[in-house]
Symmetry: C2
Subunit: 197 residues, 2 copies
């Protein structure tokens, strides 16, 4: 197999990159200076060799504990539970959250054979029961999909008996949307969750 | 800058990959086995180090001459001129063409400051005037865009005086399309290019 075909095959493994896109990427790379490809090659290798899951929360990290878990300024009594590590970044960028995170690494999906034992759940329960600081609130930030909701309900059932409040992100109208284009289920959720002005 | 940010930045350089897609790709990579990332890293490096333009036609190649140029079974009297090297593959896959190729490396675009001197044109004229085999036909396969058409007209003007026939790919209704959804210009071209059944 030629080196072009080899790179095309490796790139096609990524989600959202089909064979045609992969070919385009390869040809783009060949038109660029060699140094750029070397930098990319090195960056891929560095990520593979130096990134690992944080021992505490499962977030990706260059050290044993991720930046959030090792920051003494973060509130340790609140843990926000997300499905995937890249969702931590989405919440961090708001600058509105000062607590901890916990990355499940997916959601419950019985049809795909993914049960509680396949998620990063035991360590979450350990954090709640055995941590140095008492955990007073678990914010469930799983996705607003069927599987995300099922995972949220499961979490509530296992965490609430241990003591902490269990909350979830508010459902409602996304900021900046026209009501006309918002789906009915979301409007219904926004109605039932309405707040005093 | 963290290794994650570094890889995200390198991936964002690709056309069609914005910062958000880049982040997704990086996280996908981190969830896969380390060996997969190592293979990708190596494939990127191999392409950078081992692929170069074919000395004859400008196509990407692992040797001095590309597979087409070094194949003694290919007809040397016909040269198909394309804008980019990946278009060679599109024509090769039809299995209907047995001649040579020439890769311009772009199209004329005065607004972007790309003139004839920025394209791989001199070597094409050399092939026509100085090759061992007489070149009897140049097939212009530049894109059906404004720039591609301008490049085609320019090519015709410089090549025809040297002797060869200059042809271009037929314009017409794409196979499998509903006439209803084909644009007017294409239908007009298909009409003027109509053939006996």
């Amino acid at each position: 197999m030629s080196v072009i075909d080899q790179l095309t095959r490796e790139l096609s493994r990524f989600p959202g990159i089909g064979p045609k896109t992969a070919v385009r990427l390869v040809y783009h790379l060949m038109k660029r200076p060699k140094e750029e490809a070397h930098r990319l090659s090195q960056a891929v290798r560095d990520v593979a060799d130096r990134i690992r899951p944080c021992l505490v929360c499962g977030n990706f990290s260059e050290a044993e504990r991720c930046e959030v878990c090792s920051d003494p300024g973060r509130d340790r009594s609140t843990i926000c539970v997300v499905e995937e590590a890249y969702e931590v970044g989405a919440i961090e960028r708001t600058g509105q959250y000062r607590g901890q995170y916990h990355v499940l690494g997916g959601h419950l999906s019985p049809l795909d054979g993914i049960g509680p034992e396949n998620l990063n759940l035991d360590t979450l329960l350990d954090r709640v029961t055995e941590g140095d600081t008492e955990v007073s609130e678990i914010i469930v930030a799983t996705n607003a999909s069927v599987e995300g909701e099922a995972t949220a309900v499961y979490l509530e059932n296992v965490v609430r008996p241990l003591g902490p409040r269990v909350t979830r992100l508010a459902r409602g109208i996304p900021v900046g949307s026209d009501l006309e284009y918002v789906d009915g289920t979301t409007i219904a959720e926004a109605l039932s969750g309405r707040r005093e002005m």
